[in-house]
Amino acid sequence: MDTNLVIEGAKFMLLGMGTVFLFLILLIVLMNAMSVIIHKFFPEPQTDLSASTVNSQKNHKTIVAAITAAITHHRQA
């Protein structure tokens, strides 16, 4: 009545690799579907990009302004 471990291991492999691939294949299908749906119905607004650019430019300008102020201040001092 001893269990044949090798056969059990093989079953594990079958189930395990099967599940892993099943999972990932479903995931691929879902990823592709999501991509299609999102690009069709929820396209990323182009403004987003420019908004962030504006934002970073703004930050940049703030830094530049700060440095300039510092230098001006220093020259006056």
Binding site: E8, M13, T19, V20, F23, L26, L27, M31, I38, E44
Partner: protein, 438 residues
């Protein structure tokens, strides 16, 4: 200054007066039973000498027990400990001089050093390593928290922009299951190994190349092997740049190694936001037993991608994961006590671990070659090896080997897809194992 001292003395007086009011005998002021027994100075000195580490290592007491209250062999009390301490020094050397995953190998090594100190019982239930172990490793909380932090650090963009590379991360899990079959076969038909199915499963998960997953499964299925499995797992992850390239080169042709892959498409923020939820829902439907790991990982990732809780996401990626890493490392190290680590099993675990790693690497590369038999954009098989995970080192190795053959061929981002898919794949594999032993 004097004024100050006077003030302070006034406080003292105040204490004094207060204490006088407290005239009734309190439980504290009663003389406690003295647990200390007086001895002649000579005996005391002798007792003290017996309590030195030198003495404990040379003349171990026959009734000294290990951290679990079991008896230990004399070897494990003496040279075993010395050997283990030297091994922890080797871990330090590898971590510091060779850059082997120092974030985990240093705490693990130091924990191992502390666990092998005679008489101090630092890894015992009342020692601080034991307390930390029970606080978060015995109940598997620490690897879950690490997974949250890693999730918050992970970018699924490359996978989303080329979904089919997820298959490479799936194939690499063959390292786990192939090794599992091999380990039980050798246990059944030879006397080299003698592992149960549970132990073999816990060992094989090293092939998943994911530290937290390995620790989670080992704690679950074979806690007695935790130390060796964790050390093997992190050591081999650190050795990815040494282990993988020969295998990658052996299995690919020169033409294959020079395949250029198409530029990755832009992935929208919404896709990245939905992805973690999608994976988790899929895991719920297909394999609930994988959801603790996948759920924790995707929780971290979802918080990051939400963009509205940056302070939580930052804490997860920094303070929280660092604190837990320290604790996890020390707790794992507490399992490097000589009587648990210096057993034949450890050698077997190290051998099986490297087999698992190599098989996984090979399976990833071969899967890429198989996929290239089908029509569509060709995949450079060198990114297949990244499917074992070991994020992000395996992806960097793919990139490096690729550039050896064509300096203009940047494979890094392409390899990140299978790399993170390998994490998901290993978590699924772990879920299957948990499910089968329930």
């Amino acid at each position: 200054m004097k004024l100050f001292i006077i003030k302070f003395l006034a406080v003292f007086m105040f204490f004094g007066i207060s204490s006088v009011y407290a005239a009734e005998p309190s439980a504290n002021s009663m003389h406690q039973e003295e647990t200390y027994k007086a001895q002649p100075l000579g005996e005391m000195m002798q007792g003290f000498l017996d309590s030195t580490g030198v003495s404990a290592l040379l003349n171990p007491s026959p009734d000294e027990l290990n951290a679990h209250g079991h008896t230990m062999s004399d070897f494990h009390k003496t040279w075993g400990r010395v050997i283990m301490i030297i091994i922890t020094f080797l871990l330090f050397y590898l971590a510091i001089a060779k850059g082997f995953e120092p974030l985990l190998l240093l705490p693990i090594g130091f924990g191992g050093l502390l666990a092998n100190i005679p008489l101090a019982g630092i890894a015992g239930d009342d020692g601080f390593l034991g307390i930390i172990y029970h606080m978060g490793l015995a109940n598997q909380l620490f690897p879950i928290l690490i997974f949250m932090g890693v999730g918050a650090m992970t970018d699924f963009g490359p996978l989303l922009s080329n979904p089919k590379t997820a298959l490479l991360g799936g194939a690499a899990q063959f390292g786990i299951f192939g090794t599992l079959v091999g380990a039980v076969a050798l246990s059944q038909y030879t006397t080299i190994f003698d592992f149960t199915l549970k132990q073999a499963s816990a060992i094989s998960i090293i092939g998943g190349a994911d530290g937290p997953t390995s620790i989670f499964i080992a704690t679950n299925l074979a806690p007695e092997l935790l130390g060796a499995i964790a050390v093997a797992s992190y050591s081999y992850m650190a050795m990815v740049p040494i282990i993988q390239p020969p295998i990658m080169k052996a299995l690919t042709t020169d033409a294959e190694r020079k395949i250029k892959m198409t530029t990755l498409r832009h992935v929208s923020r919404l896709e990245k936001l939905i992805f973690p939820i999608m994976v988790l829902v899929l895991a719920i439907l297909v394999l609930p037993d994988a959801t603790p790991l996948i759920g924790a990982f995707m929780f971290g990732n979802f918080l990051k991608e939400s963009g509205v809780v940056d302070r939580l996401s930052d804490t997860m990626q920094n303070a929280l994961i660092n604190i837990v890493t320290i604790f996890l490392g020390l707790a794992v190290g507490s399992k490097l006590a000589a009587d648990q680590f210096l057993v034949a099993d450890t050698l077997a675990i190290l051998a099986l671990g490297i087999v698992a790693f190599s098989v996984g690497t090979a399976a990833g590369v071969i899967m890429a070659k198989i996929m290239n038999l089908f029509p569509g954009h060709k995949i450079n098989p060198l990114i297949g090896s990244a499917g074992v995970s070991a994020v992000p080192m395996a992806a960097r190795v793919s990139n490096k080997v690729g550039m050896e053959y064509d300096r203009s061929n940047m494979l890094l981002m392409h390899a990140m897809g299978p790399n993170v898919a390998g994490v998901i794949g290993s978590a699924v594999a772990a879920g299957v194992l948990i499910s089968l032993f329930k």
